[in-house]
């Protein structure tokens, strides 16, 4: 079984989880109904997803963060990891419903786009570089989930503002809870991003300079999330603006990473 096959199977489980949720939404069923089945399906997908990363790592004899394909697969994995950590502890109903489709989109793009290109001259193997990259990607997972929570906030806020809320109102968590979770994920993501960045400085002093587009991209993303977090802490924004901020920031992060990777070539 190769890693691409595992990933397609994982995509199958995530699609099943999304379909189950769509069914729950369509029937307007209580958040608890089929929840355990849904979580079990996501866990099955996550295990296959993990197996795919392990197989790729064994094949490369290093952490699988060497090209855009691997980075996307790793980010999707981190997002699911944070969902599994946060969903049950905060009892956030339907967080998985919004996370699974995003993960499917990221994985399918990675699997279908011609981005799984093996580097002709592999970079020098360094545990420092790999750790820095892995932490950065795990940070992206937290920020991806912050983006998902922001999206849920906007949907729930729109329901409430419309004064004619539909079924979704009953199924999604309270807006103040979504606001708090979004803030915490942003804080965790930014902290990891900072650690990853400091690790990067150390790593590249050891193994040599990083291509300037990636360095510039890292700095821009770090400043962007720093500004978002600073604004929250200093009470400049919150609620809707904060939710919009994390969504735009994550889309920018993904899009600009593609750009920076191509430029670095």
């Amino acid at each position: 079984m190769n890693e691409r096959f595992c990933l397609w199977l994982a995509v199958g489980f995530y699609v099943t989880a999304s379909a189950l949720t769509a069914r729950r939404l369509q029937r307007g069923l209580a958040a608890g109904t089929l929840h355990h089945v849904n979580v079990a399906v996501v866990v099955a997908g996550f295990l296959l997803h993990t197996l795919a990363l392990v197989l790729r790592g064994q094949h490369l004899h290093r952490c699988p963060v060497t090209n855009l394909f691997e980075v996307q697969v790793f980010i999707a994995w981190s997002a699911i990891l944070f969902y599994l950590l946060i969903g049950p502890s905060y009892r956030v109903s339907f967080l998985g419903a919004f996370t699974a489709p995003l993960v499917v989109a990221v994985l399918v793009t990675a699997l279908l786009a011609p981005i799984d290109i093996v580097a002709k001259a592999p970079k020098k193997h360094s545990a420092w570089v790999e750790t820095h990259a892995a932490i950065g990607i795990v940070a992206c997972g937290a920020l991806a989930l912050a983006c998902v929570v922001g999206l849920m906030y906007l949907v729930q806020e729109r329901q409430l503002k419309s004064r004619r809320p539909g079924r979704l109102l009953l199924l999604l968590p309270a807006v103040d809870q979504l606001d708090v979770i979004g803030f915490r994920l942003l804080a965790v993501g930014f902290a990891l991003l900072t650690i990853g960045m400091v690790g990067g400085v150390v790593a590249h002093r050891i193994v040599g300079a990083c291509p300037w587009p990636k360095t510039a991209w890292t700095l821009v993303v770090w400043c962007l999330y720093g500004a978002l977090l600073g604004g929250r802490v200093m009470d400049v924004w919150g609620g809707r603006k904060a939710a919009l901020g994390v969504i735009v920031a994550f889309i920018f992060t993904l899009a600009s990473y593609w750009g920076a990777t191509w430029l670095a070539k």
Binding site: T33, L160, K161, R163, R164, P165, L170, P173, D176, G239
Partner: protein
């Protein structure tokens, strides 16, 4: 199948009749034992709520048992005239279907309400403790609980509140995760604001502040709600502390406007604010609802949601009946196999 139910409910009898035939909870066990002898039943149970009185029994002759059950209701409650036109009666498979529908809230005054299941459980426990149940009624009631639970979790029959006060509470719970940490302010002391505040309190709302022009009435309501009264002129000063405002004054003009609310919202540090305007004419300028982190609902909005929720529940009835029919088939088969 020798099951029979005789009863009356909110549709078949006015409240005057229902209250005459109601059984006090404390005497339910004793009354069930008396029913066994009076109607020649092998097993019996009595459900008595404010909206229904129903006698369930297992008998060799269900027709004679039904007559005995009607007579028992008259005799036990010492009713002189005949109340027969108010009674309904179901036997065999129809009796099972009826109990399953009652348990699922399909026969309730508020469609899909869940309180009835607890009341049936109490009635069954009383009958069981009195030794009035046997294999037939044990099976019947236990299966009705399972059916009700299944229907609740697999359909939307209990979803969405159908009263204005409960709709307001439901909305509040989707703005604030923990109502215990929220502060409610009631401006004006009308019946509707009182009902809404009570509904919020029953779901655990934290502090409740009550202000009205009539100080005594405000103090009385505050005491009822376990809250604190404040002077009517002081409400703007307290406003920034509150999360939920129920406004129902007789003021001819809006008392809350974006101009007044703007500076107060800055003091709230992006905490959401839920405004419930049940005053006619309206107390809160509609433009407040467009402000960030402000959620404004008036009486019309709440009534419309309540009606839509009720309509949504009504659309679920067919699905519920299909589920019930499947379970009734299975149980009816069991009764036939056991010759009960």
């Amino acid at each position: 199948m020798n099951l029979v139910v005789v009863g009356l409910n909110h549709r078949s009898a006015p409240v005057g009749v229902r209250e005459r035939l109601a059984f006090p909870k404390a005497s339910l066990g004793e009354a069930t034992c008396m029913l066994l002898g009076a109607a020649q039943l092998k097993e019996a149970a009595i459900i008595s709520t404010c909206n229904r009185v129903e006698l369930y029994g297992l008998a060799a002759d269900t027709a004679a048992a039904a007559t005995g059950m009607r007579r028992y209701l008259h005799d036990y409650h010492k009713v002189a005239g005949s109340l027969d036109p108010h009674f309904y009666e179901f036997r065999g498979r129809d009796c099972i279907t009826h109990l399953f529908e009652v348990g699922a809230g399909l026969d309730s005054m508020v469609l899909g309400e869940t309180e009835i299941l607890g009341q049936i459980k109490d009635a069954y426990a009383a009958a069981q403790q009195a030794g009035a149940t046997g294999p037939a009624l044990n099976r019947l009631f236990q299966k009705s609980f399972a059916a009700a639970k299944h229907i609740r979790s697999h359909t939307a029959i209990t979803q969405g509140s159908t009263s204005v006060a409960n709709v307001a509470v439901e909305l509040a719970e989707h703005i604030f995760r923990d109502l215990r940490a929220s502060t409610v302010m009631v401006i004006g002391t009308g019946a509707m604001s009182e009902a809404t505040a009570k509904a919020l309190r029953s779901r655990g709302a934290g502090t409740i502040l009550v202000c009205g022009r009539d100080r005594e009435r405000a103090a009385a309501l505050a005491s009822q709600l376990g809250g604190q009264p404040i002077h009517y002129d002081d409400w703007p000063a307290e406003f920034h502390k509150v999360d939920i405002v129920i406004s129902a004054t007789a003021a001819p003009h809006p008392i809350v406007t974006p101009v007044k609310l703007g500076p107060l919202m800055k003091l709230r540090h992006h905490r959401p604010l839920f405004l419930i305007d049940i005053g006619v004419p309206r107390d809160i300028d509609q433009a407040c609802g467009d402000m960030e982190n402000v959620f404004l609902y008036n009486m019309d909005n709440l009534q419309q949601i309540a009606q839509e929720n009720l309509a949504a529940r009504e659309r679920e009835i067919t699905v519920c009946r299909t589920m019930i029919a499947e379970r009734v088939d299975t149980l009816a088969k069991w009764f036939e196999e056991h010759s009960l």
